[in-house]
Amino acid sequence: MADMLSKRIIPCLDVKNGRVVKGTNFISLRDAGDPVECAKAYNEAGADELVFLDISATVEGRGTVVDMVRSVAEQVFIPFTVGGGIRSLEDIREILNAGADKISLNSAAVKEPDLVRRASEKFGSQCVVVAIDVRERKGGKIRIASTDASFDGIDESASEEDNVKFPSGYEVVVAGGTKPTGLDAVEWAKKVESLGAGEILLTSLDRDGTKSGFDNVITRAIADAVSIPVIASGGAGKLEDFYDGIVDGGADAVLAASLFHFGEIQIPDLKAYLSERGIPVRTMSSTLSLWQSLKKDPQGLVPAIVVEDSTKDVLMLAYMDYEALEKTLETKLMHYHSRSRNELWKKGETSGHFQHVKKVMLDCDRDTLLFYCDQEGAACHTGNHTCFYTEVTLPEKKEN
């Protein structure tokens, strides 16, 4: 569905000491722990943005985030957000300067709400995401994370009065959901908006990991209460959950981690699913997708081998840039990038020796294209049928 702002699909990657934890294995990567490789893989799969959550426990571990950001920014050109342990304007400045587009504040915002204001004033609201983790407080019963395995998390002694404290029925929690803040979820969302937050990343900790769907009650409540975008997080398990998060929850974007990492849901499938049901999603033309997935040489070109379809004779090898590939696929006539003239070259334009494309194959490394063509006249400018008409004499094998 075109002609409007699309809903965003955002994979979240946990990083620890500069390495991706539970690395992306939906696609075979050389190194599933490498943040750059994971980011590239997600970009190619169609992710609209990325979130990197730093879960390093130590100061040294946190220091590696800046290097990671720099590396990712050199190779991946979609927006990405960095969160986890960001506490000061200096932290923010470092991460944004290294190349991140946005930072996310969670406990630091609760501890010091003014940080949100100062950050948005200094860097702009568009850089400041406030992450809000929530737990339900309905019916007076409280669910608390506990290390005591025998404790099911429900505090039966909690009273109806607790419900009054949380008009929305949800409390903001921090420290991985273990520390209650006494803040009502909707009130806090409105507060951070007024302080200058550019977006809200809302995570239902009750739903997180359950695959029972996003909590669309609180998502909708917050989406309706603020005029900044809301990213839904926590609980997605199947395709319908993303649809519901957008339609019922009113989310502008949806986030998931393990679901994408383990390949349980592929982003292209999710986008097709949403699109079929009328949700606007970002797509890319097939030619552009193909070009994006190809490994280019240092000049940014891809070699194209041309074989005659009828005889299977190898005719020639030349190079393509995006324009040449686009024109070739569009017209089914071979176009190349002339390296000597540095311009688009339509084979046959002067000689009349056009090459009609019958089939295109991609090599295993995705760094070369093979075209089966019907050749009009000769392929070589010398008049030879093939460019390869000169035999090289193999050296004699030396006897010892």
């Binding site: 002609d3 409007m4 702002l5 920014a73 050109f77 300067n97 190349g99 609201s125 900044i228 940014g300």
Partner: protein, 202 residues
């Protein structure tokens, strides 16, 4: 060599990295002679236009922009860098509407809150292109609350729809500008940047 104007506001690093990825050398600078000597100049910008114009003027870079554009060499404005090319912006700075560079006739206005849409527009939207450098139907990344209304229809290079159909790119002679962020628009953005930057090697 492409010069990326540094006036203290903007996604300079991202633009430089995208250009480097495409094989183009660039320098981030506020030095007038470096800018004037460049083969191509980019004016980026993120934030509030009032502060941006003040920052630009405080370093006399507004004059440099005019001088550079007069040379006819390729010029690219991104986001705020596009808005600054026009005459005025509704976005006030100390109560007064902001005066832009007046490189192109037109004004900058805010998305109406009556549309029932979130402001700013954040995310990917698709292009209706009137210009070779911009592929039609592809999605690019937007983050903005204000949009440009060029006086001359023929200056419009592309439009997109956010409640209303509005101009998201302009081109007039050597001046090209995008409301969206080509350096953040994945492969589509890289193609647009590449097409623009290729002119600097011509």
């Amino acid at each position: 060599m492409i010069a990326i104007i540094d006036y203290g506001m903007g996604n300079l690093g991202s633009v430089q990295k995208a250009l480097a990825f495409l094989g183009y050398d660039s320098v981030i600078t506020n030095d007038p002679s470096t800018v004037m000597g460049a083969d191509g100049v980019i004016l980026p910008g993120v934030g509030a236009i009032g502060a941006a114009m003040e920052a630009l003027k405080s370093k006399d870079l507004d004059k440099v922009v005019h001088e550079y554009i007069a040379t006819g060499k390729p010029f690219l404005g991104i986001c705020l860098g596009m808005q600054m090319l026009f005459d005025t912006s509704e976005e006030s700075f100390g109560g007064e509407p902001v005066r832009g560079l007046s490189v192109l006739p037109g004004k900058v206005v805010k998305f109406s809150s009556d549309m029932g849409l979130k402001i700013p527009q954040i995310g990917w939207n698709d292009l209706s292109s009137r210009e070779k450098m911009i592929p039609s139907g592809e999605y690019v990344y937007f983050v903005h609350s204000y949009y440009c209304v060029p006086e001359r229809e023929e200056d419009i290079a592309a439009t997109t729809n956010y409640g209303i159909e509005y101009c998201c790119s302009v081109k007039r002679n050597n001046v090209f500008a995008c409301q969206f962020h080509p350096e953040k628009s994945g492969e589509v953005g890289l193609r647009i940047l590449d097409r623009w930057a290729a002119q600097t090697k011509a």
